[in-house]
Symmetry: C2
DNA sequence: TATAATACGGAACAATGTTCCGTTTGTCAA
DNA sequence: TTGACAAACGGAACATTGTTCCGTATTATA
């Protein structure tokens, strides 16, 4: 399940051939920058000045630009990083809960991911070529993540088997438009309802719905 | 029909009370700026530098800022100006063609309006308070425009009477997403189809469909 | 035509993305 | 452990763009 296409580090070093290991301090800077950027984007939006991010990360602007040559590279990296975290959560949840519950919890985790990405989503459609590979990355990470959970839940007889992972991801993303104001309660309620819908037609009968309806 | 809420000039002078008439040179500058902005936005997008617009208008930056104190004011003005033009087209078309044809042509005119406003539409949802009044303006101008054409066509028995102007405007706006690349042919074909649909259930029978299907 | 209000142009300022380069640090072979 | 060098660091400096300010020019009016 956990088939992340590349190794750690997230910076923009040469991906192919004989690239040396990233230096420890560089990795520290990259981590600090990603964390700071995530926080700053959340508070001040994606248009926040890079200086603010560098400062919050306790790093010079030169360092920021060494790892993320353009502003858009940083944004894309944060996006990828968040996708990774969300995708990785699938394996963790799958190990900790039974298939149905893992699926339900991951769907809510996905809501958390989508709901905080309004600004970024807008940036995606800006035509900037830096963001072009992100949809592919989405397919490579999030889609298999849900697919695995879904298959497991179906195999366990906890949910019906005639729904598609892609469809679900799109549906939830659209439901998250109910959370424009940042309040995800309505979106979460609807997603829970959706999941209960999945459970409804399961082979194993006896459905005890969760409390999605208020 | 032509009930434009305010007089000409488009600048941001005091709307209420004892405002003097705009000076001739000022009006010239405003017109030149709106025209230049429209052109520049079309070529370089809404993020084009204001200097470029001022230059194209043959006007100093100071002049631009005198009439449009903020960049967003200029964008909003262009948007309003385009809405006006589109709304005004309704009356012209109504005078020139019979009700059904006028309706059909205006719908295509509306496609032209929407299709060139992708960047602006994104700006609308940016949360900038400058754009807040625009949806209201939309309702005041475009909705009545279509409503009038629709009523006339219904009264003439050329189209069915059970459709709503709002619904149509939304539908067409969504159909225009078929024209992301700037090519509106598909969108126009679909809209033509939509209009033929309107004609289909008309009280006056004998429907000769236009060539929407290729 | 004289006068005052208005508008004009563009230099100057401010904010922000990006580049450049001298200095520092981490890694590794001797 | 130490020396050398590639890599990374910080931040000043540059470039671009939104915005302000003010001296000059134009327009409307008496």
């Amino acid at each position: 399940m956990n088939d992340k296409p590349e190794e750690q580090s997230d910076g923009l070093e040469a991906r192919g051939g004989t690239d040396r290991r990233v230096r420890a301090d560089a990795q520290r800077s990259i981590d600090a920058l990603l964390q700071a950027a995530l926080a700053v984007f959340a508070t001040s939006g994606v248009d926040a000045p890079v200086r603010e991010i560098a400062e919050k990360a306790g790093v010079g602007i030169g360092t920021l630009y060494r790892h993320f040559p353009q502003r858009a590279d940083l944004i894309a990296a944060v996006f990828r990083h968040e996708m990774d975290a969300c995708a990785d959560a699938a394996a963790i949840l799958a190990a900790e809960y039974d298939p149905g519950e893992a699926l339900a919890r991951w769907m809510q985790r996905y809501v958390s991911f989508v709901a905080t990405k309004h600004g970024l989503a807008a940036a995606l459609h800006s035509g900037d070529p830096t963001f072009a590979p992100l949809p592919t990355y989405f397919d490579q990470r999030l889609r298999p993540a849900l697919h695995g959970l879904l298959d497991a839940a179906v195999a366990a007889g906890e949910v019906r088997d005639n729904v598609d992972a892609d469809e679900l991801l799109s549906a939830v993303a659209n439901l998250c438009r109910l959370a424009d104001d940042g309040d995800t309660t309505r979106a979460r309620r609807m997603v829970a309802l959706l999941v209960d819908g999945l459970r409804y037609g399961a082979s194993r009968s006896a459905n005890t719905p969760s409390d999605a309806t208020r």
